[in-house]
């Protein structure tokens, strides 16, 4: 219950952290709200996986609290870079936003590839984002010193509390008319990708410096 309440009370912050990815994602496909809800559930499944991974970490590490270590910087930097790559690819793969018309078969195949579970990976990588509410949950679990199930349950209920705030977002599907908004959303995904790329780079450089 404590995890759920913590999630519920901090969910707005989670919403603002996920919105830069989810809002352009929902607008970029130009699909209706129903389709967007399916995508949201995939996203949430990914996010839950990320949270449960944190639950395991919190239990395993026991006294682990973010201490600005080299390992921690790499741990967060690498997912950021992968996330950046995914966002950039997704944002710029369509013909409306494509940066170049690469003629190689490999390039064309990459642009045509449309994985059904991309939202899951977006959710997973957003779940690994060290946002303030997650930091609170992490601190709570590590300080209480419970067993693995307690830790997993805490993060699951925390996830449930925060997920409530994401439920209205698929309604953005009502703006699915026209190419303009889709193009803007795809560009926005690319720009968000660049932002995460910078973040990842900064984390990695910090990690190297700390080593």
């Amino acid at each position: 219950m404590k995890g759920f309440l913590l999630g519920l009370s901090n969910g707005v912050v989670c919403l603002t952290y996920c919105a830069p990815v989810l809002v352009p994602y929902f607008l970029s496909d130009g699909k209706n709200a129903g389709h967007n809800y399916k995508e949201l559930f995939k996203f949430l499944a990914g996010r839950l996986s990320g949270y449960l991974l944190f639950g395991i970490l919190a239990w395993r590490a026991g006294r682990f609290l973010p201490q600005n270590t080299s390992g921690e910087s790499v741990f967060f930097g690498v997912p950021y870079l992968i996330f950046a790559g995914l966002l950039l690819w997704y944002g710029f793969r369509n013909k409306e936003t494509r940066l170049c018309m690469g003629k190689s078969l490999w390039f064309q195949k990459l642009n045509q590839w449309s994985p059904q579970w991309i939202a899951f990976f977006f959710g997973l990588l957003t779940g690994l984002n060290l946002c303030p509410p997650l930091l609170l949950a992490f601190t709570d679990v590590t300080l209480s010193g419970g067993d693995l199930w307690h830790s997993l349950w805490f993060f699951f209920s925390f996830f449930a509390g925060t997920a409530v705030y994401l439920l209205p977002l698929p309604v953005l599907g009502i703006f699915n008319q026209g190419v303009t908004l889709k193009t803007i959303a795809r560009f926005a995904m690319g720009v968000t990708g660049l932002y995460y790329g910078f973040l990842g780079l900064i984390y990695l450089i910090r990690g190297v410096q700390l080593r």
Partner: protein, 390 residues
């Protein structure tokens, strides 16, 4: 040539001259009041010279706008001069107050950062959610306070809409000037899909500013940090940011405008411009095309600096939502088929004045203090060897 044939040629310029003088009189009076700020003329000699130069320049340009019927050529002179003076004034101010252009943590905590209009779109959601302005500046006190800038922006948006970007933005003049250096554009063609990028950057910065409760555009992307203030290069992240700022400045404000003769930062990147485009929907002025006179020569599409004209918009007799109302298309149209138009009035070239008075008055007064102080600094530099006051 007969006497009868000569008559209109000799008389019209005199009539036009007198008419232009009469129409300039209100501007002479208004700028006199607004540029002195109701506090009288400057008492020191250099201050008085700076005031006189500014006052004469502003009113000569307005007179020429009326006399020649051309808008953009004379607007651009003041707009470019404003941008250059802003940099001289701003850097001089920073050197006096802080001793350098570097923005330290101490300055941020003290709330000493001058507020810039670019922050406005980023500040809205956090202001609603947390009732705070996410910018390390002062709400009411000091140079460029938040409240002052908000009031100026709001008033200008109601009258000018995105015209703010051609008649008020103190950065826009830099690329406007650089875009005019070449006689003809290079063969470099920019795909019109990139016109959507500023809206994407706007969406991104609005959402990330809400998440991080900090102005992400200023922290990560602002090209004009290169000529205003930036963090000391004391860490890798600061170095990365500085590389980003300078690359964007070089690419979007210098190289691309020079090659394409377009305002590429304004048209392809600036999120404030995208935000300001939305105010074009509610403001009273717009640029319209008379389909009856238009011969579809495409000259307006060629010259538009912000990519705000295309075949579709021409067919509809309108510009796109991103029009900055600079007047370049109006000046270049061979059939005079493009108009400054006030909503609710018929299409007529006389309505140009309804736009021109408030727009020019805004540019003259918003730039006035800055231009005057910058000229003062340059005169100081020439006479004393230092442009710092005191």
């Amino acid at each position: 040539m007969s006497v009868l044939a000569d008559k209109p040629v000799t008389i019209r310029p005199i009539k036009n001259f007198i008419k232009s003088v009469l129409l300039t009189l209100p501007m002479l009076l208004l700028t006199l009041v607004l540029l002195t700020g109701g506090a009288g003329f400057p008492t020191d000699v250099l201050g008085l010279i700076s005031f006189a130069i500014n006052y004469l320049l502003v009113n000569s340009l307005f007179f020429m706008m009326i006399y020649t019927g051309r808008t953009d050529s004379y607007r651009a002179v003041l707009f470019v001069f404003f941008a250059v003076c802003f940099i001289i004034f701003f850097i001089g101010n920073l050197l006096e107050v802080r001793g350098s252009m570097l923005l330290s943590r101490e300055n941020l905590f003290k709330g000493e950062t001058p507020f810039c209009h670019m922050v406005i779109p980023m500040a809205i959601i956090p202001a609603v959610l947390t009732r705070t302005i996410i910018f390390p500046g002062s709400l009411l006190n000091g140079f460029a306070a938040v409240a002052t800038m908000l009031i100026i922006w709001f008033g200008a948006s109601l009258i000018l809409g995105r015209g703010f970007c051609s008649w008020g933005c103190f950065y826009g003049g830099l690329e406007d000037g650089i875009s005019r250096l070449r006689r003809k554009p290079s063969r470099l063609k920019i795909d019109l899909k990139w016109r959507y990028l500023p809206f994407a950057v706007l969406l991104f910065i609005v959402l990330t500013s809400a998440a991080t409760l900090s102005p992400t555009y200023c922290a990560w992307l602002c090209p004009f940090k290169a000529v205003t203030e930036f963090e000391p290069l004391s860490s890798w992240p600061a170095l990365i940011f500085t590389v980003v700022f300078f690359s964007l400045f070089l690419g979007l404000v210098i190289i691309l405008p020079f090659l394409t003769r377009r305002r590429t930062q304004c048209g392809l990147f600036c999120p404030f411009g995208a935000f300001q485009s939305l105010t074009n929907k509610i403001c009273s002025s717009e640029v319209r095309i008379d389909p009856g006179r238009c011969i579809n020569c495409g000259r307006c599409i060629e010259v538009c600096p912000t990519f705000s004209m295309d075949r579709d918009s021409l067919a509809k007799g309108k510009t796109t939502i991103t029009c900055c109302k600079c007047g370049k298309c109006i000046d270049h149209c061979p059939r005079k088929a493009i108009y400054y138009h006030t909503k609710g009035t018929p299409l007529h070239h006389k309505t140009r004045l309804l736009f021109l008075y408030p727009a020019f008055l805004f540019l003259a007064t918003f730039s006035g203090g800055i231009i005057q102080k910058a000229i003062h600094r340059v005169l100081l530099l020439v006479t004393t060897g230092s442009m710092l006051i005191g």
